[in-house]
Symmetry: D2
Subunit: 378 residues, 4 copies
Amino acid sequence: MIGGGEGSQIGPAHRLGSGLDGLFEFTAGALDHRPEAGRSYGQQLGLAADRSYGDWREMLEGESAREDRVDLVTVATPNSTHFEITKAYLEAGFHVLCEKPMTMTVDEGEQIVRIAQENKRICAVNYGYTGYSLVRHMRAMVARGDLGKIRLVNAEFAHGHHADAADADNPRVRWRYDPAQAGVSAQFADCGIHALHMASFVTGQEVTKLSADIVSCIASRELEDDAMVNFRMDGGTVGRLWTSSIAIGRQHGLSIQVFGEKGGLRWSQEQPNQLYWMPLNQRLQIIERGETNLSPEADRATRVTIGHAEGMPLAFANIYKDLAEAIRAEKETRPTDPAADLYPRATDGLRSMAAVVAVAKSGAAGGEWVDARPPMFR
Amino acid sequence: MIGGGEGSQIGPAHRLGSGLDGLFEFTAGALDHRPEAGRSYGQQLGLAADRSYGDWREMLEGESAREDRVDLVTVATPNSTHFEITKAYLEAGFHVLCEKPMTMTVDEGEQIVRIAQENKRICAVNYGYTGYSLVRHMRAMVARGDLGKIRLVNAEFAHGHHADAADADNPRVRWRYDPAQAGVSAQFADCGIHALHMASFVTGQEVTKLSADIVSCIASRELEDDAMVNFRMDGGTVGRLWTSSIAIGRQHGLSIQVFGEKGGLRWSQEQPNQLYWMPLNQRLQIIERGETNLSPEADRATRVTIGHAEGMPLAFANIYKDLAEAIRAEKETRPTDPAADLYPRATDGLRSMAAVVAVAKSGAAGGEWVDARPPMFR
Amino acid sequence: MIGGGEGSQIGPAHRLGSGLDGLFEFTAGALDHRPEAGRSYGQQLGLAADRSYGDWREMLEGESAREDRVDLVTVATPNSTHFEITKAYLEAGFHVLCEKPMTMTVDEGEQIVRIAQENKRICAVNYGYTGYSLVRHMRAMVARGDLGKIRLVNAEFAHGHHADAADADNPRVRWRYDPAQAGVSAQFADCGIHALHMASFVTGQEVTKLSADIVSCIASRELEDDAMVNFRMDGGTVGRLWTSSIAIGRQHGLSIQVFGEKGGLRWSQEQPNQLYWMPLNQRLQIIERGETNLSPEADRATRVTIGHAEGMPLAFANIYKDLAEAIRAEKETRPTDPAADLYPRATDGLRSMAAVVAVAKSGAAGGEWVDARPPMFR
Amino acid sequence: MIGGGEGSQIGPAHRLGSGLDGLFEFTAGALDHRPEAGRSYGQQLGLAADRSYGDWREMLEGESAREDRVDLVTVATPNSTHFEITKAYLEAGFHVLCEKPMTMTVDEGEQIVRIAQENKRICAVNYGYTGYSLVRHMRAMVARGDLGKIRLVNAEFAHGHHADAADADNPRVRWRYDPAQAGVSAQFADCGIHALHMASFVTGQEVTKLSADIVSCIASRELEDDAMVNFRMDGGTVGRLWTSSIAIGRQHGLSIQVFGEKGGLRWSQEQPNQLYWMPLNQRLQIIERGETNLSPEADRATRVTIGHAEGMPLAFANIYKDLAEAIRAEKETRPTDPAADLYPRATDGLRSMAAVVAVAKSGAAGGEWVDARPPMFR
Ligand SMILES: NC(=O)c1ccc[n+]([C@@H]2O[C@H](COP(=O)([O-])OP(=O)(O)OC[C@H]3O[C@@H](n4cnc5c(N)ncnc54)[C@H](O)[C@@H]3O)[C@@H](O)[C@H]2O)c1
Ligand SMILES: NC(=O)c1ccc[n+]([C@@H]2O[C@H](COP(=O)([O-])OP(=O)(O)OC[C@H]3O[C@@H](n4cnc5c(N)ncnc54)[C@H](O)[C@@H]3O)[C@@H](O)[C@H]2O)c1
Ligand SMILES: NC(=O)c1ccc[n+]([C@@H]2O[C@H](COP(=O)([O-])OP(=O)(O)OC[C@H]3O[C@@H](n4cnc5c(N)ncnc54)[C@H](O)[C@@H]3O)[C@@H](O)[C@H]2O)c1
Ligand SMILES: NC(=O)c1ccc[n+]([C@@H]2O[C@H](COP(=O)([O-])OP(=O)(O)OC[C@H]3O[C@@H](n4cnc5c(N)ncnc54)[C@H](O)[C@@H]3O)[C@@H](O)[C@H]2O)c1
């Protein structure tokens, strides 16, 4: 693991998710931008002294030299470093799970996609919410035709954690809305892409073009804290996506609704163990995680019996579980179990980056419709 | 009452709402487009034979000639007749409650506004959902500053009742998506304007401009069955509005979220007796209809004790209750109780019409931002 | 109407419920224990001066003498007066709707039942919550066998409105827990009997015996503020009932769950427009008030379209609607519409009284099982 | 680990929970009643060949002989074997986490308590639901006086998984209702004791006496499938507990409500990340897991940020986390962190056993109140 040092936000969730099934062991890391802090924290977490590295280059060198080199490198550093680190490890022959956003530009994203392909390495991107059992079940329901042709998808990621104007100058918050540090987009790039990726994941379609309305509700912000994005997908589905960081009263707010010819689905990340499903002209019914006779994709992503909540760490664990299967299949030169072949890929990371740029562009142009595809997929 | 004949959808709700408090008596009507059916149904409902009219002109004549002419005329006929009927009654000196949409064009809307002003008659429009006690409380909370400056409002009216492609040619449904009968907009004009009006009602601000993305998810439809509208309000609030008739799994789907500097509100028409309120940096709390110490506006619009649901007929009744107070105040030449002065007006009906036209125009122009104000308010 | 004077709790709900459908007109009353207050308030509400009586005896005399005497007398006075007034009106040939509890003793209850039978008068008791459309639908589902044999029913009526020890000596609250004024039971007699009656209404079975655990959580109270009652019904169903007035956080808390061989139901008064239904080995589904293809009983008790909440005043109105049908059928000497023949009867009021006595007796005897049937039904 | 072999219900949850924080490593086991199956499954799960034992005696011998013997033995075998195994390991100086119910008789329970005390070994019992962050927060709120004196606690564990009469003879289900295999109680012993223990855990009080109404809704069952238990606690709290296995529509159904002089709490296992709290005379508010400024007990038991669900495996992990702290504290001869000293103990297991016997006795005696304390605590 690179990044995820003491006090980091996402580090613990990765260690939890990767270790949970016993499929990965945490054996090496460069956890902090301060070499000493990283080394000592790594050892505190149980790493061997010689594998608790001071920085990612040291680790790259150290691990490359070992017989028992790590199978997978998780990159959980700040956004601007993802490209460089991910590129280096892929080129050195490591599989990588990179935090989102995968890169800062579309061009970097295309490079990563190419490098991963050329080196035949896995480059996964952590859209971890797709690991939930019922999210995978939604995808399976769509894929097997339960909803018929998908007409419309409506996704949200709206929270209120940056709503306090008095707190807006707090450095922990401010950098996110500063183009110099955050790039061309704030809230859409941070949260919106989760919702957009989920729309793709569930429908099995890719975004082609979009129109965005972006605003900064707190005046001192240069980048948006609220965005509404309309989009179109390559299977003909219409999309709507709202993301906000000033929605006081919402804690996390990632949710998705999918409407097809033959039924509608609704799911929300905060109550992830229930899925609301209405088949056309019938009643709303509640699908429970852990039910008998769900899809293989859902079954594989579930661990405890019905009625016992599974939460976000288990969703992350499912991404790792998929990666373990993919790595194992590669070692054993056999095909991957299709029900496990669901981890988000570098191409997803790239598409998100293209969408971020498109949102910024459309938003600046009064909502003009713009192509949201990366050049290499046009 | 004009319209609302046997089997009509909205007629019973008006009779229920107007009679419920004993403030209005149902004494005259031209209930059906078939004179005989209207007359006999009226008598069946208890109207005197000589006041159960065959058509609205007959009633206009009959009532104008009486000493004890009706105080208020409810117009609950199909949309295309609203203008003509409302105009005629206002000019003859009657107060009118007109169903929405008030007119078919902006110009007609402006005429109604002027006629009502010139004749000093009340012309109300039935945005009945604003009658709910907790909707009025939201407005009061905003007005008294509980939320601080309002940053963003997000409104929805998304149902799934026109989602069945097999049913789309059913005449009961088809006319709604046919420009010849429905005008320039279908779902936005039918449902979206309720949500838009509620955004205005609660924030106390008017819509200035908007950008719309409209689609027909069922291909045979000329008019939209789903629309996303971004808008701006004259107090600086940003608006988002989604309306759909293909959202399978949603029954009615009118809901609103309001986000200010100091807190956020969330309310949904299907569970109208609870209001979710989070003051900045505090916890989400549930405001119950009928609580002690709500606003005078909420208290006036409530009838039964806390914990007993009040539903939509009581919301309609509150519109009538306001009208009764307004009519009485006028008769007694005294000011109206401010907590009762909340019924939607002809100006609201006009503004909705301007928004409908703007949505159609923006939608046709790829989401271009267009002025949403009626000419007379520019 | 007798009782229901200015500021009374239940008076407005009766006037609302009875007038709402236009089936009853409010034409006479003795509304207050203070003759002058009653007379003037009656006139204020629109009663003719000669029918706004000073007390119930005056009204009995006055109405008996008239040709156009009232069809139905609602008794909404304090509990201890119900017997005397109801008896007098029944004997004089009026139909009566009496508030609950119908009497203060089982013996009085049996007298009322006999008098009503002998005089062939309707004596209804206002278990108004049975008027909800979906409660009637539950009854219909049970009756037509959707759940198979009913195994168990679990009912609750738990609120927190008497939880404040500092408020316990407030006269408005205190009398309820004082045996001299309230009789042998407080919370069970006030609220528990609603839940118990609902268990009977929905299952179509009567309570035979019960065992109670009663406690006074606030020490100064002589009567119980919390009770748990286990019971058995004559169709073999097992019952459980919890009632409380110290359950802080609960507003009203009337709810019921019914479990049969073939499925389970759950309904709650505070969200009365949804009914949760799980057929055995299938998924939980949500039945909406106003759905197509519900039972005739549900359809008759519903007024507005699906997705629009109906609340408690409409439930009360359904009791009045049934009474109107019963009175009309009697006048027309024809059978009553079975879907309307659902108003609670004097026998229900009597059975409740027997249950109240049984609860007090069992509670005092450490939970001993006691016969809960009135002597006349043993 | 003893038990928890391939296909077992609870085994995976233990391996998940114990490994999740990296505090325990799974190093030895006797996983199956079939020695070969156990040995091979153990190795499959990564155990060394010489520590994947054929039965628990072999493991006892093997581990006792090692320097690096396991720190903690989890006993996850069927109920009837718990006593013998737990006793043997405690006597040999191992710490034990035993599944519930700890023993089959009260006498055995007392023996375990004494043996653990005499050997100064930890004997924990897996009431794993007390590991949820918000359950611990409830306990902390009660302990620090937020609710004032606790008046009443109402707990439930009602599911519908044994409601199908056609499935009642399925051996997987039948043994549970057969006294020869299950002992004196079925549903109460299996599920009720979780709810009863939670009532004790949250209030910090012990059950003193109880009265039970037990029934077999499916006639072929000798033991109860539904029970209502009223109880009293040593701090004066009144208790109510309903447990059922025929409640169709309920998935798991563990929930608790606590009512004190100054407020009320409500929590449900199926939505464990929200806690409903109403302070007296204020509004209902929603406490979210992961909020700032919760109690140290809650903070310690939480891992991911607010708005991300944590589920049951993390609750189990918290029990293990407490045990790790206790074991470490013992090794370091220092006091245990009080916020971690919350795992359920042998005394809890014993008290549950006494309650099971009391429920069976009271149920057989028509609900007589019986002492629910184990003899050693009378
Ligand atoms: N997938 C998700 O749901 C999700 C959620 C939160 C954060 N994230 C992503 O995770 C990444 C990290 O976010 P965070 O909130 O944990 O950030 P953070 O600031 O809390 O932690 C970053 C950690 O990386 C370390 N670090 C920084 N530069 C480093 C370097 N060059 N080498 C080694 N370590 C270095 C820091 O010392 C720190 O420990 C971001 O890209 C963010 O977008 C993803
Ligand atoms: N405010 C709301 O929430 C709401 C809800 C539903 C409908 N509406 C509005 O109410 C109006 C009526 O809708 P509806 O669904 O009840 O329609 P409907 O078709 O069900 O009923 C219309 C009634 O008007 C009668 N009618 C038609 N032309 C007439 C005429 N010239 N003179 C007299 N009677 C005439 C018809 O005979 C019929 O009885 C529409 O404008 C609609 O938009 C408003
Ligand atoms: N069915 C329900 O859901 C429900 C709910 C609340 C109350 N109730 C019942 O309704 C009854 C009234 O309760 P309330 O809460 O409205 O009481 P209240 O004290 O608020 O009002 C009682 C009214 O009766 C009048 N009154 C008293 N004695 C009278 C007499 N002899 N003649 C004429 N009027 C007289 C009083 O002046 C007052 O206006 C009670 O029996 C109560 O149990 C039923
Ligand atoms: N705390 C909880 O929430 C919870 C939930 C479920 C089960 N449980 C308890 O867990 C225990 C196990 O239940 P389960 O549902 O997993 O049972 P199960 O029948 O699914 O599995 C039992 C396992 O133990 C093995 N086993 C049996 N006898 C053994 C022996 N002598 N030595 C070694 N292994 C042996 C079996 O081979 C099997 O693998 C029970 O006591 C049950 O009450 C607790």
